[in-house]
Symmetry: C2
Subunit: 445 residues, 2 copies
């Protein structure tokens, strides 16, 4: 345990902020340190894979013929630490307080990714063979949206035969409640452009005579989604696979205080959404549409009286399982065109799209992971979903055609992407134990 | 004529950009030059009036007992000249090309305000008495929204007895068509604040469970105004005094090409507005609501997936005659409160308000101005309105309780506030003639 903590602290001291161009040397140092961890764990063929952006780190152990192969994914880069003044301990001087270790990257993802490494190390470093084959692939651009891992997997995916991916980058639904995430929503991100003319006009001189691009934008937006939260585009939900009754029941049984969620976590004055669905179904399984920003006209200090001739709406839809992002993009474009008034130009640009991913909890790779976690944590593993998307999961599903097993060892109060990020150390140690037991179970199948 | 042109060119060479703090010396030089012009014209008691911001310039001639007193208003400051690269001649080197004089301030307002000065100079400098009394008050903050003239008039207005104000800062409806502006719309400018919670949230994690402040803003905005342009707030138009049948007919008789207006002037793909009203009634006499900007969330490059917890809508209503800005502000606040969903906070902050101003064309001060212009320009003077507001007119009406006579000598293509501003010199000379004849007519009443 002390060795794990020491190595983790050393890793966390490297400020591998992938989004910061000035940190490029630190990011590389973190990649090299990761390679060293792989080697100390007994992995073979350890190397940095260069390409556009920060390097990937690869290592493998493939000496369990006839046994399953797991692709173990993690990332060695971290979010920026700003705002620094809100940290109670320095973000890159890992500090143990009680049973928590505070540092940027403590939970996202170094403190959880290290679980995978040490689960392997416990075998190989002691001269014992692993019960399964493993390929480790860690990236350094998860927090900066880099494209390197995607380019690499698309190009080299054929050589990456595996049976499942194992990812430790998610959290437990509640402390002491072992959790596997078995579903992610898809997304279609779009920019709506509205144009009414060539130049902004004075609202005194022209008001009453010409259209207003921001008003049109507001009207279009308000027409696409009902006041209760339902997306009103015809055909939008076609293909949607609702959760099973069993899933709904399991979600309803999760320990959850809606009031605490509203006030303490989301910090909103009211919850909101389609009244005929439960909160978890709305967050995890229902498609949505959200407005992220509306540009155009004047938003500075004071009172400028301009009729904007252009408006840009940043918006996205989250997709439930079974919904095709391309189809949703087309429907959205069509709906926008239909509600745009005559004589006004509108266009929709799709920035990116990804389908939802769901893994069947009855899939043996998931089932065995759940059993391993239950053994170690002493309570029944729950299956949750996430309303967001984890790009690597979609990529693995699309390119490698295998399921991703997301074993959650983080906690809801780990302050990911925020000041005072921490990891609960007992979960790191129990995580190593759980992943090792998972290897055993898979090897024994 | 040569003397007028020389003095105007010298005035225009002073870059009196009131909004530019670095130009403060030039603005003062322009004030002093204005005072010199007043003195050369034979005005008495000429002085700079100091206060917050740039000085006012005052001068008077009050030796026509029993005759009306006119407050002659103009402004010696100009708009910034940027973007400089679009000027074909240097903005502060006045250049005559054909019958036009090009310079920043050529039409707004130096080239038109000089008409008032020379109309007086033609009498007093030649030793002839003026047929009326005049008080000249020129300001240096018209283009920068300064408060000096307002503070001064509110404080000293009682000493400023006059029968009408005369303003040369507007334009002819069309070349060779003498024009008096007899109406301005009022305004209520407001900021709508929508708040749904304490922090922006991730649209993957929370989408479907919480309200979106920008979506609420769009919905509120879309509910306040119908798709055809009518404001839907109950009681909004109470008190509105529509134009008379005679005014409507005179507007319909104006020489006007709607297609050219749409394509050439407004440069919009379509005109828009309440179909039951003519374009001029919509622009000049109908109340409106316009959205100027919607802040909140993310409008930068790329795809940030944020559910904004705050939105601010900059908006304003133009008011027709008879509508009370305070009442409209209250109705707007009330309407916003009514359409804000439960559990969402909204508030409306009124930034400023001003009522509409209309002058009866039958008022003798207006009628005689029209006759004087008709004599000089050789065609019948038309009465128009403006959809905007000229703050000094409202101020004069409120504080001095006299009508403003707006004799328009500018042209629609003078490029006010834009590169290559110019004045059509024959209008300056004919303007001096017309104002002199106006003095005669008022003196003979």
């Amino acid at each position: 345990m002390e060795e794990v903590l020491n190595e983790l602290q050393e890793w966390l001291r490297i400020a591998s902020v992938s989004a910061d161009p000035r940190a490029v040397d630190d990011v590389r140092r973190a990649a090299e340190f990761t390679a060293g961890m792989f080697e100390r764990a007994g992995l073979e063929g350890v190397r940095l894979i260069e390409g556009d952006g920060h390097p990937l780190v690869y290592g493998e152990w493939m000496h369990a013929p006839g046994k399953p192969t797991l692709l173990c994914y993690g990332h060695y880069d971290v979010q920026p630490a700003e705002p620094l003044e809100l940290w109670r301990t320095p973000p890159f001087e890992p500090t143990v307080i009680g049973e928590n270790l505070y540092a940027r990257g403590a939970a996202d993802d170094k403190g959880l990714a290290i679980i995978l490494i040490w689960a392997v190390r416990r075998y190989l470093a002691e001269g014992r063979p692993l019960p399964v084959n493993v390929r480790f692939l860690f990236e350094g651009e998860e927090e900066s949206g880099g494209d390197h891992v995607s380019q690499f997997l698309r190009a080299a995916g054929g050589e990456f035969a595996c049976d499942a991916a194992l990812i430790c980058d998610t959290e437990m639904f509640a402390p002491e409640l072992p959790t596997i995430c078995v579903g992610l929503r898809g997304i279609v991100y779009a920019e709506l452009h509205i144009e009414t003319g060539e130049t902004d006009l004075h609202s005194g001189v022209y008001g009453g005579g010409v259209p207003n691009a921001l008003e049109v934008a507001a009207r279009v937006v308000a027409s696409l989604k009902g006041a209760t939260g339902k997306v009103l585009i015809a055909g939008f939900e076609d293909g949607l696979i609702p959760p099973t009754e069993e899933e709904r029941e399991s979600w309803a049984a999760l320990p959850f205080d809606e009031h605490e969620y509203q006030r303490g976590e989301a910090k909103v004055f009211t919850l909101h959404g389609e009244p005929e669905y439960s909160l978890f179904e709305r967050l995890w399984a229902r498609p949505t549409m959200e407005i992220h920003g509306i540009a155009g006209g004047f938003t500075g200090e004071g009172a400028k009286t301009v009729i904007p001739c252009e408006a840009v709406v940043k918006m996205s839809c989250r997709l439930g399982p079974g919904m095709d992002p391309n189809r949703v993009g087309s429907l959205l474009s069509q709906a926008v065109a239909e509600v745009t008034p005559a004589g006004v130009k509108s266009s929709l640009r799709i920035l990116h799209g990804a389908p939802a991913s769901v893994v069947d909890p009855k899939n043996p790779f998931v089932r065995e992971a759940a059993s391993a976690m239950t053994e170690v944590f002493g309570s029944k593993t729950v299956y949750t979903r996430s309303g967001g998307s984890i790009p690597i999961v979609g990529l693995i599903e699309e390119v490698l055609r295998v399921p991703s097993v997301m074993m959650g060892f983080g906690l809801p109060d780990d302050n990911l992407h925020a000041p005072n990020e921490k990891v609960y150390l007992p979960n790191v140690y129990r995580g190593i134990e759980a992943v090792a037991r998972y290897f055993e179970r898979l090897g024994g199948l």
